[in-house]
């Protein structure tokens, strides 16, 4: 059996030959291994090792209840196949790639082994094999596999196999992404409407859309990555910036355009120079920045407010620490833990600091929005590589200010623009290759959490639901889509083309995560769309212009007040300030924070006084009670946290049902009016079984049994004599009959 052969290699992980399995040619040579009916392998997927009679514990409460089956490790996932056939009621919201009991290798967070009731973290080579394997996943599932009844040989093989494939450092080329892309049939076209920003036209269109094309231009100096490997092929800079400037420091110190506000103010980002020891170098850099500023200072650009994010936002290290602690609250392998923590729930939550970081990001975004919208000032975000918190803040600002980014397509384009093409190091930040733990930081999750706060505060403003965000966060760990598996556009391009050692592989194509049909059936995709989305009323152009004018008139008021000083003079100050920041001689936090606080509260308060326009500026509530836990993502796998009544899920489904019914009835009305009645054909919408949804929907199935406190029966039975028992039986019958 081929699978076992490969697994045999797994048992002796020291052998270097072991890793060679992935080589894509091999896949073609080898016959597909699935002789079992159950096991469904993706193209390019390869069974590595397996173990039978493994018990999957349903709940870790001491009892060994659970399902028996095979545990399987492939080069894509760890899967558990139950011996008993799956339940008939298929979950409505089913991921086509990842089954209920599948864990992709990148989704594995930690693996623990249980030895004599003691839990130990498993890594490296093991001397002794555990009786139980606990796998914590990055999407917060927890699996417990009991290996007590498994053959020792198989235990060794599967445990070391799983540890090896999920925990040890990998080469980029060994990602399943490549095996899949090579083996999968190249479906020629996927009708993908998301703007990918990998072509010059996309950037031009975006400039056009935001009316930024008067002051900014797309440059193609980076074609063939001449300037920098971190920068995308095409990007947008101020019109007056010359090519030499861009080339001089590999793109550092260059303001790169993100987005333009309707009043003309723009959001820019810039990667800072690394701290230099030598005075001469720093002097040169200072001069360079001066020069850059002088050029972009010419009239259309006016004032620029710079914001060094490393000063005002938590560091990546802090974010990672907070998230690790936060995540711990929801990784439950023992339900009693959960019960214990609930008395101190809020203070535990607070001590993780995660929500506070979310709040700080939102506050920062509000502040930037204030400069752009309220004060008509350009904002320049500065960060070491302009690819971490820069992405968070700039995309948040755009979501808050531009209703286009609150549509599904717009949001996806935004992620393409700011994150994927913008050069966020997904590979490092998600630690997909397990090469360097220090680089790991859930920056993208932080962004999604911030967006979730907005979504739950203003549901009608978004075309997508929180389920969409949750599913998106899960997609981070599915190595089929290229979207989240490269550090930059450059890395993706180089790995796709000539450099790879198989000659004819240049034709392969990566899938993008935005093609949701790869993961979900159309029926399930419905759940990603918000039925309550208040679509933007179509305005013709004349109307639009008048509204814009009005805006500007309002906005010009504070501008004239605050910026009365001659622009030149003001700008000099700004530049100095700015340069100090850039050169690492950080200005004290105090000054920064005090003026930020002042501006921002006034803007924030006055916005919240007015009624909300779902298509205009959207500012989140950031007060204490405003920031909440993304319950759907963090609680969805915990059966104890299941609301049997369904909570908001049921309400939302109800709305969906009603919308459909309203629509069908309206259609009927129309038909009736137009007298083209086709009585025979009754088009009824698809019925949704909304009666039995719990709050875990759509991720986990409703637990058919209720979680009631259990009565101690033994005490009772002693005292109940037969007479009583008989009577009780009768009652049961009665009840049953009636129900």
């Amino acid at each position: 059996m081929l699978g076992k052969g490969a697994g045999g290699g797994g048992a002796k992980p020291a052998k270097p030959s072991f890793v060679s399995y992935v080589s894509p040619e091999e896949i073609h040579k080898k016959e597909p291994v699935e002789k079992e009916v159950n096991l469904h392998l993706l193209p390019g997927e390869l069974l590595l090792c397996e173990a039978s009679t493994v018990l999957k514990c349903i709940q870790e409460d001491g009892s060994n209840r659970g399902a028996c089956g095979r545990l399987i490790c492939t080069n894509f996932k760890i899967a558990f196949l139950g011996d008993e056939s799956a339940l008939d009621d298929e979950p409505e919201f089913k991921n086509k790639l990842i089954g209920e009991n599948d864990i992709t290798l990148h989704c594995v967070d930690h693996i623990y082994g249980v030895y004599d009731e003691k839990k130990k973290s498993l890594f490296g080579q093991l001397k002794k094999y555990p009786e139980k394997l606990i796998i914590y996943c990055k999407d917060l599932r927890v699996f417990t596999f009991c290996l007590r009844y498994t053959k020792e040989e198989e235990v060794k093989r599967i445990v070391s196999g799983i540890i090896h494939h999920s925990q040890t450092p990998k080469l980029l080329k060994r990602l399943f992404l490549f095996s899949y892309a090579t083996a999968a049939p190249t479906n020629t076209d996927t009708q993908n409407q998301t703007v990918m920003f990998d072509a010059i036209k996309d950037w031009r269109d975006e400039l056009e859309r935001t009316k930024g094309n008067m002051k900014y231009k797309v440059v193609s100096v980076n074609e063939a990555y001449k300037v920098s490997e971190k920068l995308p092929l095409y990007f947008v800079v101020p019109m007056s910036l010359s090519e030499e400037n861009i080339l001089q420091y590999q793109g550092r110190g260059i303001p790169i355009w993100c987005w333009s506000c309707h009043n003309g103010a723009s959001l820019l980002k810039m990667s800072a120079f690394p701290k230099e020891q030598e005075d001469s170098t720093s002097q040169m850099q200072k001069n360079f920045l001066d020069g850059v500023y002088r050029t972009i200072n010419k009239p259309p650009y006016e004032v620029v407010k710079t914001d060094d994010l490393s000063n005002s936002l938590p560091s990546l290290q802090e974010i990672q620490t907070a998230y690790v602690r936060f995540k711990q609250l929801f990784l439950i392998d023992n339900s009693t833990d959960f019960w214990d923590s609930d008395v101190k729930w809020f203070s535990l939550l607070e001590s993780t600091n995660w929500l506070e970081i979310v709040r700080r990001c939102l506050k920062k975004a509000i502040e930037v929005a204030d400069y752009l919208e309220g004060q008509n000032t350009n904002v320049l975000l500065v960060e070491e590589n302009a690819s971490d918190l820069c992405c968070v803040v700039s995309s948040l600002v755009q979501v808050m200010m531009d209703s286009y980014y609150r549509t599904k397509l717009g949001f996806q384009s935004l992620i393409q623009k700011e994150w994927v093409i913008g050069g966020h190091c997904f590979l490092d930040r998600c630690n997909h290759l397990k090469q360097n733990d220090k680089e790991e930081a859930p920056v993208f999750l932080l962004f999604l959490d911030c967006v979730w706060q907005l979504v739950q505060q203003y549901p009608p403003a978004f075309e997508f639901t929180e389920t969409y965000l949750t599913v998106l966060s899960d997609s981070l760990y599915i190595p089929i889509f290229s979207t989240f598996f490269f550090n930059s556009q450059h890395q993706k391009d180089t790995n796709m083309s000539g450099e790879s050692h198989h000659a004819q592989s240049s034709h392969f194509r990566f899938l993008t995560v935005w093609d949701w049909s790869v993961q979900f059936e159309p029926k399930a995709q419905v759940l990603l769309n918000n039925p309550l989305y208040a679509e933007k009323p179509k305005l013709d152009k004349s109307q639009r212009k008048t509204t814009r004018c009005k805006h500007q008139r309002q906005l010009s008021l504070p501008l004239t007040q605050t910026k009365s000083s001659p622009k030149r003079g003001f700008f000099r100050e700004e530049t100095d300030h700015f340069i100090k920041n850039i050169l690492g001689k950080r200005i004290s936090k105090l000054i920064n924070s005090s003026d930020e606080l002042h501006n921002f509260t006034e803007f924030y308060d006055s916005w919240h006084c007015k009624p909300v326009d779902f298509h205009g500026l959207l500012l989140p509530h950031v007060e204490g009670p405003g920031i909440k836990v993304w319950a759907q993502r963090y609680l969805r796998w915990i059966p104890e946290a299941q609301l049997l009544g369904g909570g908001t899920v049921v309400t939302a489904t109800k709305i969906l049902d009603m919308m459909e019914e309203v629509q069908s009835l309206q259609k009927k009305m129309e038909e009736k009016h137009s007298q083209t009645v086709s009585q025979g054909r009754e088009v009824l919408p698809v019925l949704r079984n909304s009666a039995r949804l719990s709050s875990l929907f759509p991720f986990a199935l409703l637990q058919r049994h209720s979680l009631k406190p259990v009565l101690p029966t033994s005490t009772w039975k002693d005292l109940e004599d037969e007479e009583d028992l008989a009577k009780r039986d009768d009652e049961f019958v009665d009840l049953g009959d009636v129900i």
Binding site: E350, L532, E640, L644, E682, R704, P709, V710, T715
Partner: protein, 737 residues
């Protein structure tokens, strides 16, 4: 505050017509009333013009210019006409839940601020030594009203109105006999009688449990065949705090019953609250009286009462896991301070969560929910009698008994059922509302918002089971707000006895003092005979809180109805209608003869008692409740709180099993955070209601247009198109997709 209440205080023209010249009314009174729409009987004490009401507390921006009135009922602010939109729906003359108004008992704290001195809290006795520039009213319904006095030579006015409010607030109804509300109540009633015709009063028939027939009707609904209504306390000579009528086992005669009273605190004997269709019974009782003698013969009656025909009886010590009234008050005050939209006491955002935890309010909510679901499970899974025992049976027993019923009985999740439940377990059962709400401010130490805690628990259930309740969050908020408005009889008395005395007293006055245009009050005899006679068209004498039409407009009341509610299946009702034979009916003698087993349930553990009653041991102390010697290990006996899936399948309409985990017990924002800037918008509520209306409308139109034969769309089997319910219908909205 409900949305749509933006309009200024308006009065229907006829609302003022029958102003009676009460003893207090004088010419002076009408001095200002052309500007201020008084409720008949209301008296303007002081007023100040050109006062600015600060609309938003933060930022200091936004103020409304208007006149501030202090009357003997409330503090009211009337904005200048320019600012009040005139197109809004006319308000009821009698609803004091306007956003600019606050009834005097609702003011918790009154603070005068001057820029030179520190803020000073005002009471009736305090002397104000400075001219206030700003007056801040901290309300018990979590609002903060700020009034800033203009600097235009109005200082004396400012001083006067401030002092007037301080004094009026303190003396509002200090002596229950002569409170100013009595006049207002009488007049309100008049208004109410007029609105009666138009209102949908009968849409939610609430059993008040003041008369015999309500008790009998409810007993029939429960199908508790082994029980009867006893009128042993009809004249309140057995126990003054108990209702007139009690549900007791049929086989116990009144004579026997009378002997049991002395064994319980305040003579509150065990009596039935609810009968489970499966046979279990829920009872409530006060603690055993210290002086009761266990050797006496009549202990048998106590036994019979508690066992209620079962062989097993579980005594639930209510106080064991739940907070006491003092704890509740303490954490309520902390919560109140935390949630006030007042920047001076605001907690830093990053410390908000631990501050919330520090109030322990959510802990209390959780404890109540957990205990209630344990008791509900006990009732569901065993056939026994469960006796809730609290030392005085008037606070947490009310809460627990009603919560258990909401979990177990779908009927209580309808508005009518819920209101009846509140009448039965709170109002008539003698929850001391007057003391707990402290509307008269006679004793601060007795204050405790047990009722609010209960509403919060119900709200949590509403969140978790959005389709199981006929009423909405808006309804609960309205109920909460109404509890601070002393116009209605429901929350003004400590027990039925007090209420009846007041009514008799007032009624007899009324007969002689009737005024032109007044409706003759119903004769005393009718009142005393209860509402059986009242069926025909008469109503209890004082208006109750359930007359929502009195205070809330039709669109507001439409928000009380949950559009997502799916009515329980009819089979479920059939059970409750008594198709099941109650246990023990067949062999009552046998079960009674054999002494049953007694368990004690406290702190999540079920313990067998060696002696049926503690005093049989000769010891009254807690030692008597000794744990049963048992061969089983303790762990087996303990009621494990860890949830394990039990065999019972989930029933959509049966028992609700709420989750009380930390992350899922939430803050009732709409109630507690209403003052803050946060948008008070239900996540889906408005849209859902609109959709439901749209659906009804479409169905109706389609039904009208199409022939009878054509199939109707009735997907939601329970919600048949109902042509006759035109209220709240709106023009079709266009769905966004």
């Amino acid at each position: 505050m409900l949305p749509g209440s933006r309009t200024s205080f308006k009065i229907q023209p006829h609302g003022l017509a029958p102003v009676p010249k009460g003893p207090k009314s004088s010419d002076k009174r009408n001095r200002n009333s052309q500007a201020f729409p008084c409720i008949p009987g209301e008296l303007v004490l002081e007023e100040a013009a050109r006062v600015r009401k600060i609309v938003r507390s933060r930022g200091g921006e936004g103020s409304v210019l208007g006149t501030l009135y202090c009357t003997n009922l409330r503090v009211s602010f009337v904005p200048e006409p320019a600012l009040s939109d005139t197109v809004g729906a006319p308000r009821h003359p009698t609803c004091p839940h306007n956003e600019h108004d606050v009834v005097l008992p609702c003011i918790r704290r009154l603070v005068a601020v001057n820029s030179f001195t520190k803020a000073k809290m005002l009471t009736a006795s305090s002397t104000l030594k400075f001219i206030p520039e700003e007056l801040v009213l901290y309300c018990r319904d979590f609002r903060v009203l700020r009034f800033r006095f203009h600097e235009s030579g109005l200082e004396p006015r400012a001083f006067q109105v401030t002092m007037a409010i301080a004094q009026a607030q303190q003396s509002s109804g200090g002596r229950p006999g002569t409170w100013p509300y009595s006049t207002a109540i009488r007049n309100l009633e008049n208004v109410w009688l007029r609105t009666e015709e138009a209102s949908l009063l009968s849409s939610f028939p609430t059993l008040l449990f003041e008369g015999l027939c309500d008790w009998e009707k409810e007993l029939r609904r429960l199908g508790a065949a082994g029980w009867r209504v006893s009128s042993v306390n009809e004249r309140f000579d057995m126990a003054t705090s108990l209702p007139k009528y009690l549900w007791v086992p049929s086989r116990l005669l009144d004579n026997e019953l009378k002997r049991a009273f002395a064994h319980f605190n305040a003579r509150r004997i065990p009596r039935l609250c609810w009968h489970h269709p499966g046979g279990s019974n829920l009872l409530r009782a006060a603690g055993f009286h210290v002086d009761s003698d266990p050797e006496k013969e009549d202990v048998r009656c106590v036994e019979a009462l508690m066992l209620a025909g079962h062989t097993q009886c579980v005594v639930v010590e209510t106080a064991a896991d739940l907070p006491g009234p003092a704890d509740i008050q303490l954490s309520y005050l902390k919560l109140w301070t935390l949630c006030l939209p007042d920047s001076s006491v605001a907690v830093a955002d990053e410390k908000w969560l631990s501050a919330l935890e520090g109030t322990r309010w959510l802990d209390h909510v959780r404890a109540c929910l957990r205990k209630a679901s344990e008791v509900a499970t006990l009732l569901e899974e065993k056939t026994c009698s469960v006796v809730l025992q609290e030392s005085d049976d008037r606070d947490l027993n009310c809460l627990l008994a009603s919560l258990v019923q909401i979990l177990s009985d779908p009927h209580t999740r309808t508005q009518a059922g819920f209101q009846s439940l509140l009448q039965k377990e709170w109002v008539v059962a003698g929850h001391p509302f007057l003391q707990r709400l402290n509307l008269l401010r006679d004793n601060d130490r007795e204050e405790s918002p047990v009722f609010l805690l209960f509403l919060d628990c119900v709200w949590q259930l509403l969140q978790q089971f959005p389709t199981s309740f006929e009423y909405t969050e808006a309804y609960l908020v309205a109920l909460h707000d109404s509890s601070y408005i002393p116009f209605f009889s429901t929350f003004l008395f400590n027990c039925q006895w007090e209420r009846d005395r007041r009514n008799q007293h007032r009624a007899s006055n009324q007969i002689y003092a009737s005024v032109n245009g007044w409706r003759e009050p119903p004769p005393l005899e009718i009142l005393q005979k209860g509402s059986c006679l009242a069926k025909e068209g008469r109503v209890p004498y004082l208006p109750t809180i359930w007359d929502w039409a009195l205070r809330y407009t039709a669109p507001e009341r439409a928000q009380f109805r949950n559009p997502a509610y799916t009515r329980g299946s009819n089979t479920g009702n059939a059970i409750l209608n008594g198709n099941c034979a109650p246990p023990g009916e067949d062999k009552p003698e046998a079960t009674l003869a054999r002494n049953g087993a007694m368990y004690l349930f406290a702190k999540g553990a079920l313990l067998l008692q060696t002696h049926l009653f503690p005093w049989k041991n000769g010891s009254l102390s807690k030692k008597g409740w000794r744990q049963a010697p048992s061969s089983e290990s303790l762990s087996e006996q303990e009621w494990s709180l860890r949830s394990k899936p039990s065999s019972c399948l989930l029933q959509p309409d049966g028992l609700l099993c709420p989750v009380s985990l930390g992350p899922l017990i939430r803050l009732w924002r709409r109630c507690y955070l209403r003052g803050s800037s946060e948008v008070q918008r239900g996540l889906f509520a408005p849209t859902l209601a609109e959709l439901a209306n749209e659906l009804d409308l479409l169905r109706e139109r389609l039904g009208d247009g199409q022939a009878m034969g054509s199939p109707r769309v009735t997907r939601h089997g329970s919600r048949e198109p109902q042509p006759g319910a035109p209220e709240g219908k709106r023009s079709p909205l266009s769905p966004s997709r």
